[in-house]
């Protein structure tokens, strides 16, 4: 048995120094074009710029809800990793999105995600999307994420 205590890391601080590293390697995140702007322990902020190719209603020019889903899903997953003391990736179990009001055409959307509880295998998150402040919300999200066990030797783990 290995009783040696595992080394603890400040993952949020590491992520904070490499803000968009986790995002840049994700093709779909590059397609929607959001950026990570700030990482604190269990808390991640990001920016989703408006773009023509993301429009979900040609008459109003409002971007599609799926873009906000992608944005908040990603930020929530990152908030889970930022809450940990060793590097682990997470997979979304489920995510609920409530749309409060449409985002305005041509304006950036601010996203904020928080991992408010963490067990050995599951993370619980909430997230917000807005233009200016959390008082005037575009959407909120509540999610649960499964913590992936570290893969050893590159073998495919069966889930």
């Amino acid at each position: 048995m290995n009783d040696k205590p595992r080394k603890q890391y400040d993952i949020a601080a590491i992520m904070s120094e490499n803000l968009n590293v986790m995002r840049d390697v994700v093709p779909w995140a590059n397609e929607t074009g959001f950026r990570v702007s700030k990482v604190e322990k269990g808390h991640v902020f990001g920016l989703q710029p408006w773009a023509e190719h993301l429009v979900g209603d040609p008459e109003s020019g409002i971007i599609h809800g799926g873009v906000i889903t992608t944005f908040l899903d990603n930020l929530s997953g990152m908030a889970c990793t930022a809450a940990m003391t060793e590097m682990r990736f997470v997979a979304t179990i489920d995510l609920r999105i409530d749309y409060m009001r449409p985002a305005e055409k041509g304006r950036d959307i601010i996203g904020e995600a928080e991992c408010y509880h963490l067990t050995r295998s599951v993370c619980f998150t909430r997230a917000w999307a807005y233009h200016e402040t959390r008082d005037k919300l575009i959407a909120t999200a509540a999610g649960t994420f499964a913590i992936n066990k570290p893969r050893l030797g590159g073998g495919r783990s069966k889930s």
């Binding site: 190719h53 599609h64 992608t70």
Partner: protein, 142 residues
Amino acid sequence: MNPQLTNPRADEIDSILKRLPFAQTLGMRCEVLGDEMTAILPFQEKLIGNVAIRALHGGAIASFLELTAMLQVFLVSDMPRPPRPINLTIDYLRQGHAKDLYARAYVLKMGRRMASVRAEAWQENRAEPVTALMAHFLVTSD
């Protein structure tokens, strides 16, 4: 003209998809037979969410399912335009592999003010869905 498009709403679904920039970004299309619609998301590299295991991005799958649910409500209603979403819950059941994805949506209830819709996405086996979605849409005209 596609002879399969017997439902007059089917042509409208086609033109909605063509006019929606985000649907074009996803690259999705729909096949309609009567009141039954299958949405197809042909695989593209940009839909990947995890390059190491080559899995589709959950956000891309969710976007595809939300559009499928929205179009199904439009198909079975007489609304002049597609409905607006109120909320949705997505269950990620299995990993989406780097191949085509299919989806179908079922309107569980079409009310006067809102519609409850369930949608499922699958790849090689319909009985093993990759992702499930439950959504509510506002169907009032005002």
